[in-house]
Structures are given as structure tokens and as C-alpha cells.
Symmetry: C3
Subunit: 158 residues, 3 copies
């Protein structure tokens, strides 16, 4: 239950709770399990209150705000995992994440934004299991005007 | 053969046929099989006549036209699967799709567009097998000026 | 060691060496292995000198320059594989690549750009093993202002 304890610590440090596990905005599931891999849908940044974060990097939001939004996306992914498995103890490690940042053409700090999710996973699962492969890319807009959308692949315990 | 029957029904309802399985526009295969997973290449919207659909959401195309284009992309993916396996009976379920929508910076309804593909898969494979994980993102342009590009992962039977 | 020989030939033809295996720009690993699949992070175009290539297709760079950048990205991916496995002999085949091209809204030749990576893999691994599934999409900007970012999935030898 180490990941559960580290998550509780992080939430306490952030003075927040897990956001509600996201409800699909279309015809899809939050995650699908194939053998020992979990494929999550793209998650959006939702506060514990249920409020959606909106904005664009390079325009409305600075790197710090983008980092916080990516952290919220990561918390939402963890909420989906806990809803599915009961706890995070089923997760062996992060395999890969794809992070998409709503960006003006001038903004080039997508990795610093996606670190908000990556740092969270590294903390919660530990650096060995929590740091996976990653791509950080940009988009000119995103669903509902959010600043960040992230999908992830996790490996399950035996 | 249930998926085959449902596909025939849907094509009848749409008064169309499957588009021709796409020929690669570069150095790639339409799909690759690894064990029981099928990874498809990004497919573009092609009509049964072979004509490519072009346009951008938020500019030339409205949500309804985008939805229809995403449905065509889904039909093209099904055409690639049938070309490979002879029928859709080999497909156990949809694991994940990544849908990319050619969007102006103001357009934020990417999920409603990608539903054109997701609704098709849900109909053809049934809701249990046909609804997978999904990410819907935006791009400022796409190959050949198409409005939608979608790649998918499927799980094969036994 | 055929792939090693073909790579050496290609590097000789290009009068260059492999770029240094990329150091992560954030909290991630260059690649993660799960059973017989290798998931690479998004790689950026880096010259053998360590210099990063920057620019946007449709603005600063033409298709030929974009192709050369995508080739450099492919060489960087090969450098990461060799660092991990000692040689390319461990690689059975390319499963899939996702190529993202930094593009103006008018640029629609993303496939021709990503061919720079695909042609390299087809040469090094041979056409049967080196050509996988592929998606080529666009972004309005990319990390550090690079023109191309590519992630890949490879299958390992038994």
C-alpha cells in the first residue's frame, strides 16, 4: 500500500482530495485492461470540486499553472485507477504517457508542463516504478478548452 | 459473424459501401499484429468512391460534417481489418483509439467529432466490445488537409 | 548483426555518426520494456554534434529539411536502442511509430516528413521488419522548437 500512503501524503501536502473519477465525455471507457496492461483514455484537468481547468499555454496560462493542471490530470488518472482496482497496489509501474499541451505557436515548454503529471507519478509510485517513457506534444486547442490532456499505459502486478 | 451483420446493416442505413482499404501514403503498413493485439496506422476519411474528405473543424466543417468524416475513418479502419482477416469475426474488442481533429484554435468539440468513429465501433462490435479507451485531441492541420485522422488498437479473439 | 551493418552503411553514406542517446528533458526514461515490446519516449532531432534542429514546416523548413530532421530523430531512437541493448540485433521489428510535425496550418505533407524516419528504419531493419504501422500528425509547436518528434514501439527477438 506504499503508493496509497504516498498519494495520501501528496494530497495532504497539496491540501486537496482526489478529483472525482472522470465520466466519459463521449463513447469511451476511462480505461481498458488487456492482460497486464492498462490503457487509460485521455484525461482532462478536473479539480476536487469537479471544476474543469481551462486555458492555453503561452496565452492565459504560464508554465506553473500548466504544471498544476497536468498534476490535476495525473490525479484524475489515479482516481480512475483506484475506482477500477480499489487501490493503487495493483499497479506495478508506469509504462508510458502521452501528454498534449494546448499551446500557442510560440510556446515550447511542453515538457515542463507535463512534468506536473510525471512528478506526481514518480512521487506516488517511486522513481523506479513511477517514471516511464513519455511524449510531450502540443495542440492548438483541446476538448472543452482545457490546457492539458494526458493518456497513460500502466503495467499491473503479476 | 454478428459484427459482419451489424456492419452490413449500418452500411445499408448509410446507403454506402465500405471505402477501399487505404493504400499507405508513405513507408508504413495499414496494420501490424503482435500476439493478440492489432495496431492500425492513422487512417484518413475516404468515401466509398475513393474520394478524400478535406476541411478543418471551426472553419470549413461543422460538428456534423466532422462526425461524418470520423465515421468514414472508422469504416476505413474496418476495411483494413477485413482485408487482413477476411471478416470482423477475428476482432474481440476495441482497446483504444487516438483521434486527431484538424481544428481552428477556437474549436473545442473534438470528442463530438470522434464520436463518429466511436459510435460506429459501438454499433458494429456491440457496446461491450466496441467501446474502448480513447483520446481526442486537436491538430492545426493534417495530412492532405483531412479533418480527422484516427489510429486504433484492437484485441483479437483467442 | 545485419541491422548493425546496414546502420553503419547508412551512417557512412550520410557521412555522420549516431547522435548521442538523448538525455531526458523531463521526468521520463528514453524507453521502457514490457515483455517483448519496447516503448520509446518521443525523440527530438539531434545532430551527431549534439546540436538540436529547430524550425517549423511551412515556415522555416521545407519538406527536404523536415525529412532530414525526421531521419535524425530515427537515428536518435536507434542510439537509445543501442545504449539499452548493446546492439540492434535484439530488435525483431518496428511495430508502430507516431510522428508529430511542427506545422503551419497550411502545411499538409506530414507523411513526406516522417518518411525520413520510416525510410531509415526500413533500410536498417529491412523492409519486412522495418516497416510498421504509423500515424503522422501535426502540432502548432513542439518542445524546444523542434520540427519533428517521434515515438516508437518495437518488438524484441524471442
Amino acid at each position: 500500500m506504499t503508493a496509497e500512503i504516498r498519494l495520501a501524503e501528496k494530497l495532504s501536502e497539496l491540501k486537496t482530495m482526489l478529483p472525482p473519477p472522470p465520466e466519459p465525455k463521449g463513447v469511451y471507457r476511462p480505461l481498458v485492461i488487456v492482460d497486464k496492461l492498462v490503457y487509460t483514455s485521455g484525461h482532462l484537468p478536473v479539480r476536487a470540486s469537479g471544476e474543469l481547468v481551462q486555458g492555453r499555454l503561452g496565452a492565459d496560462l504560464d508554465i506553473e499553472a500548466g504544471y498544476a493542471a497536468a498534476q490535476l490530470v495525473g490525479l484524475g488518472i489515479l482516481a480512475s485507477l483506484r475506482k477500477q482496482f480499489g487501490s493503487l497496489a495493483s499497479i506495478r509501474r508506469v509504462v508510458k504517457i502521452l501528454g498534449v499541451v494546448n499551446s500557442t505557436p510560440e510556446f515550447t515548454h511542453q515538457p515542463a508542463v507535463i512534468n506536473g503529471c510525471s512528478d506526481l507519478f514518480a512521487h506516488v509510485f517511486g522513481r523506479e516504478a513511477g517514471i516511464g517513457a513519455r511524449s510531450a506534444i502540443a495542440a492548438p486547442t483541446l476538448p472543452l478548452g482545457v490546457p492539458v490532456e494526458i493518456e497513460a499505459i500502466f503495467e499491473l502486478e503479476g
